[in-house]
């Protein structure tokens, strides 16, 4: 059963697809979004996938717990059916396993909670629409000067992957398991990471997270805000749903891996991160997908904020100065 608010003629209204097994939720969502968006709702995930094949949607918002198909599964399918549609998981119950699936398989843009605040949800959806529109914009012509440099980068046999790991245990193990295809570097703290980015402009960071620390999320948030292109694979020994929400919404991690590390999987994730990076180089618009939402009590990477992140951060490495240059170097276009 689907309900479509009739599109206002002549206006390119953003199109939204909502999937939930509870009609009351769909009704409420329709009321919230009906005025300025074209809203399609359905209780049937199968129908939702059919709709995604038929039409262009800017954003798809799915419930997690549904009778026939889980939200993660649906979003995973949606990703292949309609790659440019931004995916949001709306869930009333924070099931950590499902969330890990949503990050790794569904590549969701954001998590949203039930019950939601209308204004916040609207803001989130607007953001998602903006991302979708950016991604769908025609690709930049090859003629952009630095594209060649990007291609040159891509031709490098071994890509640089940095392991941020305070204890260096993860780095040692990663060296054994991943050492073949990539150039692994060890960074004991965030300062070192910043320094390495400034020098080598790498794009994939494997990050060992403290078992428990909100600071981890803050640090990654700061890093991600400063270097949006950076794809972070988080390695953690616990799955905590609150934390996962934080990591996806505010630190915008690329993948999440639970300890003990499944190395084959991690290796695949590193490979797909490198592929993603190459794709972003070709189409920098994709970068907007990597945007991290603002965070309360966020750390600033500039100035004093950085010095708290790592003792090794030298004044020379302060990223404020050279951030733009780095980005340009990495992404292949100037500002």
């Amino acid at each position: 059963m689907s309900a479509v608010t009739p599109p206002a003629p002549g206006i390119d209204k953003p199109t939204l697809l909502f999937i939930d097994d509870e009609p009351a939720i769909l009704a409420a969502l329709r009321i919230v979004f009906r005025s300025t968006y074209q809203v399609v709702t359905t209780t049937d995930p199968g129908e939702a996938l059919a709709l995604l094949r038929q039409r262009d949607f800017d954003v798809v918002v799915s419930d997690q717990r549904m009778p026939r198909m889980q939200g993660v599964e649906l979003l995973h399918e949606a990703r292949s059916v309609s790659p440019h549609t931004t995916r949001i998981l709306l869930t009333g119950y924070s099931d950590a396993e499902a969330m890990v699936g949503a990050i790794n398989e569904g590549e969701v843009y954001r998590f949203a909670h039930k019950p939601w605040d209308n204004a916040q949800l609207k803001g989130l959806v607007d953001e998602a629409i903006e991302v979708a529109r950016q991604v769908r914009r025609p690709e930049l012509p090859e003629a952009v000067p630095s594209a060649a440099a990007a291609a040159g980068d891509a031709a490098e046999p071994r890509q640089l992957v940095v392991v941020l790991d305070g204890s260096s245990k993860l780095y040692a193990a990663a060296k054994a398991h991943l050492g073949e295809g990539v150039d692994l570097r060890h960074a004991p703290d965030l300062g070192e990471v910043v320094q390495l980015i400034e020098q080598q402009a790498f794009g994939v960071l494997v990050c060992a997270l403290d078992a428990y620390s909100q600071d981890d999320s803050r640090r990654l948030h700061a890093l991600k805000r400063a270097y949006p292109h950076l794809l972070v694979i988080a390695v953690c020994d616990c799955t905590d749903s609150d934390r996962l929400v934080e990591l996806i919404n505010h630190a915008k991690i690329f993948r999440f891996v639970k300890k003990p590390v499944p190395w084959a999987l991690l290796s695949r994730y590193v490979a797909s991160a490198l592929a993603q990076l190459a794709e972003v180089r070709r189409n920098p618009a994709l970068l907007c997908r990597q945007a991290a939402a603002p965070m309360e009590g966020a750390l600033a990477l500039q100035g004093a904020g950085l010095s708290t992140l790592g003792a090794a951060a030298s004044p020379a490495a302060a990223p404020g100065r050279s951030f733009g240059a780095t980005l340009a170097r990495l992404l292949g276009f100037g500002r």
């Binding site: 409420a28 119950y93 950590a96 428990y212």
Partner: protein
């Protein structure tokens, strides 16, 4: 371990065997002395002495010519040899060198005696021969002279010789009877005086011999030879008899008897001491056996008692574990229920909340429309002009309706109601979230957590019984603790509930403190200003099923379970209570729990799923 009972059995058997062998040895030693054989041997010795005595007597009898045959002097030798042989055959004697030596000295003494007796026999024969000759010779001399009738002839007077000028010849008629009588007398009593006299007479007669007639001269000469033989042999015989008597056969036999007796006494003494030893040994063996039996019985009894106590304790632990398992299952079920509720409630709540928000947004438009409508109605009503009555009537009622709406401030009221609704939805949502946080099913079971957050979520859960209670929080900067926060929350809820129940009707105060007790230990204390725990109750509060609450109000498992949970986390849970001033429960947890906790949880997770 399987071999130990067998080994013990073998050792016991060996010990018993050794005891029995020792006893047998001592028993045989204590029966070794044979009195009968000893008596037989002593009897043989007595016989030997008797034989020897008789032998000596027979020698004297033979000398006294009471017995003529020498058989009695030879026969004892055989008897003696027989006895000695039997002595030598006696095992007691045979085995003892000193006894054999004594027997040999008997044998030597007998041999010497036999030697002397042989010599005696030879001398005695000669002596007897000479003695028998004396009367015959006298008669022959006297008869021969009578026939000749010339016995008084002076011819008998021997011619004087120059050598014996003082010699006075004796008449043979006088000299021969004297010689015979004196010789017989000397023979029967060999006195030295008689010997000298006789010797003198013999000398005189020999000197006088040439003066005797030819017929007399020869027999007297023979007589003199016999008398001289008797004189010589008789004194020698005396010496021989003395020698025979002096051979120490009796002494040797006595010596042997003495030795035998001494040896027997020693053996008897030894046997007596062996008997005492046997008695002692038997007593000791019995004591040992009884002691062992007693010890085994005692140990069995002790073991039985120990097992009974153990069984009782195990049963108690089992009962407690069962109750705790049920409790854990309840908590698990509760957690699952909370998870279900969270989803089921959050979904309609989301619809309600969103609806209310949308309503509030719509209220602006509605309010504006109403306002404009009211203004329109008033304006139209105020404007002059004739209207159809029905229109005027509707206009009036519209104005009245608007006035009524305005008088109750209906739009604002609806706004307030919607806001209240949203607040209530948020409250419900908050409660649900807290229930979820408290049971923490969405997290992996063992994970780092801040105990302050646990306390906050516990306080939220406890809100319903904490109304009117002042809760003071003094939270330190603590490190996260790797734990099963759902379980730790249970402990905290227990402590807070107990504290709340101890509080007075009014003015109740609960203090929650956290701090680092050491770099790796986090301490949480829950203090109340309630009635405290009476000293008689204090030692029992950790016991399972102990409760001071009224029947049905508490399981009595709260504190015992709490302590178990804390112990499983490698921590401690203690209480300080002063009866009128209140109690302080202090939980100390290590930042990193023991490895078993994680393993146990993994196992529990595997069986639970």
């Amino acid at each position: 371990m399987m071999q130990r009972p067998t080994l013990r059995l073998l050792a016991s058997a060996a010990l018993l065997g050794a005891l029995a062998a020792g006893w047998g040895y001592l028993y045989s030693n204590s029966r070794a002395v044979n009195t009968d054989r000893q008596n037989v041997t002593l009897g043989l010795l007595k016989d030997l002495k008797q034989i020897d005595t008789d032998w000596g007597a027979d020698v004297l009898r033979s000398q006294a010519d009471i017995i003529k045959s020498y058989d009695p002097l030879v026969r004892p030798l055989h008897a003696i040899a027989d006895v000695i042989q039997r002595l030598e055959g006696d095992p007691t004697v045979h085995q003892d060198a000193s006894l054999m030596e004594a027997v040999q000295s008997i044998r030597a003494a007998v041999a010497r005696k036999s030697d002397y007796i042989d010599r005696f026999k030879a001398q005695n024969a000669l002596l007897k021969n000479s003695l028998n000759y004396l009367p015959t010779a006298r008669r022959d001399i006297e008869n021969g002279m009578g026939n000749a009738g010339d016995s008084t002839a002076p011819a008998a007077v021997p011619v004087a010789t120059p050598k014996n000028a003082a010699f006075v010849p004796v008449r043979w008629e006088e000299a021969v009877p004297l010689l015979v009588n004196d010789t017989l007398r000397y023979y029967s009593v060999p006195d030295i005086g008689v010997y000298d006299t006789l010797r003198g007479e013999v000398q005189r007669v020999r000197l006088s011999l040439p003066g005797y007639s030819a017929e007399v001269r020869e027999p007297v000469g023979n007589l003199l030879l016999h008398v001289e033989t008797i004189l010589k042999l008789r004194s020698r015989q005396n010496d021989l008899l003395r020698d025979i008597a002096s051979v120490p056969v009796q002494a040797s036999v006595d010596d042997l008897a003495q030795r035998l007796t001494t040896r027997f006494d020693v053996a008897l003494k030894e046997q007596a001491s062996n008997s005492r030893l046997l008695l002692l040994y038997s007593a000791m063996s019995l004591a040992l056996v009884f002691g062992a039996a007693g010890w085994i019985a005692y140990r069995n009894a002790t073991e039985r008692r120990r097992l009974a106590v153990l069984l009782e304790r195990q049963t108690k632990v089992l009962k407690e574990n069962e109750a705790q398992l049920i409790h854990a299952q309840k908590m698990n079920a509760l957690g699952e229920m909370v998870a279900g509720i969270t989803h089921e409630v959050n979904t309609p709540l989301a619809a309600v909340r969103s609806g209310l928000q949308s309503t509030r947004e719509l209220m602006g438009v509605i309010s504006e429309t109403l306002q404009k409508d009211a203004e329109l109605a008033q304006a139209v009503a105020a404007a002059d002009g004739n209207r159809a009555e029905p229109l005027a009537q509707r206009l009036r009622s519209s104005v009245e309706a608007h006035q009524e709406l305005a008088s109750v401030d209906a739009v604002a009221l609806v706004g307030q109601l919607v806001d209240g609704g949203i607040r209530s939805v948020d409250h419900i949502s908050g409660v649900i979230t807290n229930m979820l946080n408290f049971s923490r099913l969405d997290r992996s079971r063992i994970a780092p957590a801040r105990l302050e957050e646990g306390l906050e979520s516990t306080l939220a859960m406890a809100a319903h019984f904490l109304s009117g209670v002042s809760v003071e929080k003094q939270f330190g900067d603590t490190r996260p603790v790797t734990c099963d926060i759902a379980q730790i929350n249970q402990v905290l809820l227990n402590l807070v509930r107990n504290a709340a129940q101890a509080l007075p009707e009014s003015g109740g105060r609960i203090q929650l403190r956290t701090r680092m007790a050491s770099p790796t230990l986090v301490e949480v204390s829950v203090a109340d200003n309630g009635s405290g725990i009476p000293p008689d109750v204090l030692p029992r509060i950790w016991e399972p099923f102990f409760t001071t609450k009224k029947q049905g109000a508490g399981t009595g498992l709260g504190l015992s379970t709490s302590r178990k949970i804390v112990a499983a986390h490698g921590g401690t849970l203690k209480v300080v209570s002063t009866s009128p001033a209140g109690s302080t429960f202090t939980m100390v947890l290590p930042v990193t729990p023991p490895a078993e906790l994680q393993q146990r949880q993994a196992a529990a997770g595997a069986t639970a799923s």
